[in-house]
Each structure stands twice: as structure tokens, then as C-alpha cells.
């Protein structure tokens, strides 16, 4: 038994410590101010969750506005909801849920080091995001044609409204203020989501990720799940009441 063999054996046992531990010669994705990959990973996740908490609090302002106006004008909300297209809303819900699945699977395939599949799953998620926005575009187009606009811009055209729906009270504009604000801000989040998904797709193609390091995929997927989370509440509250 040579000393080399012993050293080699020890090297195997402590490969992680040597490579990721002391820091000075760690992998290139390990920032110098972290001792270990798990420390960097936990810090990144913690930061993301604090950001997501902020996002939820930010959206909650819109949900409170919805709650207040809905309680003040329940009949108006009910009448206005009839003008929203349930089928399109439900389709978009399925599209977003599916994209959440592909995002979760992308993280999984990054965790097991399947770069090719990760790329495909991220692309599928991006495609769903575009699909969502396209459906949303046609919904908005219909609202504009019908004059179903926020606040004082509300001037319904009877010929464009849903047949057999209850008549719209004069203050229905406030429903559409809330509708456009909530879905609009959510839509902006979808756009940002597309941006960060493209960024993580490029990095995946570049070979930045491995079984040991997949944090950006995980973080971006968390953001995308939040977009899905907000829509899970938006859809029934706006379309199904």
C-alpha cells in the first residue's frame, strides 16, 4: 500500500469537503463568501422566500380592494362577472397549472443532472406563458370592444355584451378597474417570468447547472409557481362569482 493510494482513498471520502468546503478552491459557482454549497443554497432560498412574501403582501393590497368593493356592491360584481369569459379563464388556469408542473419537473431534471430535459421543460413553461398571454390578449380585446373599461372610461356597448346577462349598473367601471389592475399586474409578472425563464434556459444551455448546483432553476421555478398561485385566486374570484 502506497501513501498515494491512501491519499486517494481519503480524497474520495472527503471529495466534497475538499472541493466545496474550505472555499479557496471550491467550484466556480460557489461564491467566495460561502463556506459550503448548502450554505449558499439555503441563503438563496431564504432570499427568494422573503421576496415571495413581499410579492404576496403586494398583491394582497389588490385583493383587499377587491374584498372591500365586492362587499359594498355585491350585485354589481355579480353582474359584471357575467361579462367575463369563463371558458377562456378556465383554459388559462389549466395552461398555468400545466406550466407549473413543467417548471417543477424542470427543477427535478436539473436536480438529477439531465440538462437536455431541463432545457425542454423550461421551453415548455415559456410556451405556456406565451399561451396564457395570447388568451389574455383576446380577453382584453373583447373588453375593449365592449367598452368594459375601468372607472370613468366604462361605456358598455350593448351589442358587444354577453346575451342574457344581468344589466350592468352605472358603477360597473369600478369592477373593471379592479379586474384590469389585478389581471394586468399579474400579466406583468407573467412577462417577467418569461424573462427569467429565458435567462435560466440560456444558462442551462451554457452548462452552468449540475446535480450539485441547480439553485437558479429552483429559484426561477419558485417565482413561476407564485405567478400560478396568484392566478389560482384571481380566476374564481373574478370569473366565477
Amino acid at each position: 500500500m502506497s501513501t498515494e493510494a491512501v491519499a486517494h482513498g481519503e480524497g474520495d471520502d472527503h471529495a466534497h469537503d475538499a472541493a466545496h468546503g474550505a472555499g479557496h478552491h471550491g467550484p466556480k459557482w460557489l461564491a467566495h463568501h460561502y463556506d459550503t454549497p448548502i450554505q449558499q443554497f439555503d441563503a438563496a432560498k431564504l432570499g427568494m422566500w422573503v421576496f415571495l412574501a413581499q410579492e404576496l403582501l403586494f398583491f394582497s393590497g389588490l385583493f383587499v380592494a377587491y374584498g372591500v368593493y365586492r362587499n359594498w356592491f355585491p350585485e354589481m360584481f355579480k353582474a359584471a362577472a357575467h361579462q367575463l369569459n369563463k371558458e377562456m379563464g378556465a383554459t388559462n388556469t389549466v395552461v398555468l397549472l400545466f406550466s407549473s408542473l413543467t417548471a417543477a419537473l424542470a427543477v427535478r431534471s436539473a436536480q438529477v443532472g439531465n440538462k437536455k430535459l431541463t432545457g425542454r421543460l423550461i421551453l415548455t413553461t415559456i410556451a405556456c406563458a406565451f399561451g396564457f398571454l395570447i388568451i389574455k390578449f383576446f380577453e382584453y380585446k373583447h373588453k375593449f370592444e365592449g367598452g368594459l373599461l375601468p372607472g370613468r372610461f366604462f361605456h358598455p356597448h350593448v351589442e358587444h355584451l354577453v346575451q342574457g346577462a344581468p344589466p350592468l349598473p352605472a358603477n360597473t367601471g369600478s369592477f373593471f378597474s379592479i379586474y384590469f389592475m389585478m389581471t394586468g399586474v399579474h400579466g406583468v409578472h407573467v412577462l417577467v417570468g418569461i424573462g427569467v425563464l429565458i435567462w435560466v434556459w440560456i444558462r442551462n444551455n451554457r452548462g452552468d447547472f449540475s446535480k450539485e448546483y441547480f439553485t437558479p432553476v429552483d429559484i426561477v421555478a419558485l417565482y413561476w409557481h407564485l405567478v400560478d398561485l396568484v392566478w389560482i385566486y384571481l380566476f374564481p374570484l373574478l370569473y366565477l362569482i
Partner: protein, 162 residues
Amino acid sequence: MSTASHDHDHADDGAVHAHISSVPFYVAVFLGLLFLTGMTVGQSYVDLGKMNIVLVIVIATLKASLVVTFFMHLKWDNKFNALIFISTIFFIGIFFAYTMNDTEHRGDHDPDQNVKVWAKTGEEAPGGMVKAESHEATPAAGHGQENQPTGAPAAPAPAQHH
């Protein structure tokens, strides 16, 4: 607790050992989400009166729980992240409760402020206390807030909420 806590074999080697769920498991969660979506859409065709909104929120919360617990890995994640999430929900609850408690009772008789006005118009409600003077007397009250009840001059001006 670290992310690696479930994996005791490697808990101290400094590497990331995140939980990896199986593909069928993720697909099952997705199917559960689809089922709940179907439920909430189906429910919308049945008018349950006041129970509508309750059921809508219960189903949406079930869906959100599935996404947060499994897709967002909170079940296996560092428990501190779960604490952040749960406290966020708690503070959103406070936000809702206090705001709605205000906006839902603006037309009610308020003996401390000696007023009773309609929340929607700011006009005196039938049977209410006399609302002495007008908005001009207290210009600070009700700027841009059509729903802001105006306090009687004898009483201190109601606190502005913004």
C-alpha cells in the same frame, strides 16, 4: 434544520441534498389541481348564495396548498422558509380583517363620533344623529374619499386611514 435534513447520510458534508420527488408524484399533484379546478368551475353553475364565496376560497386555498407544499418544496425545505410564508399569510389576514372591519361598518351608528352616515354616499342615514356643519368645516376630513364619514365638529376628527 437545513435543506439536507432528510438525508442523514450526508447531512454534514456541506453539499446540497434537496429532496427529489418522482415524476409520477408531480403528475399526481397536477391532476389533483386539475380536479379542484373542475370542482370550482362546476360549482360556479350552482348558486349556493353566501356559501359561493366560502367554497371558492376553500377550493382555491386547497389548490394553493398543493402548489406551495409540493411544487414549491416547502414540505422538504428549510422550515424557516415555511415560517416566512405562514407569517405572510397571517399578516395578510390582519390586513383584510382590519380594513374590512372599517369599510363594512362606516354607515353604522358610532356613538363615540356621534355620527351615522351612509357609507356609500356620506349622507345622513335615517334616524342618525344630526351631522352638524359640513365638509367645509373640516377640510382635512374626506379629501378625495367619498366614502369617508365626516365626524361631528364636537368630536375629534376621525383618524385618516391613509
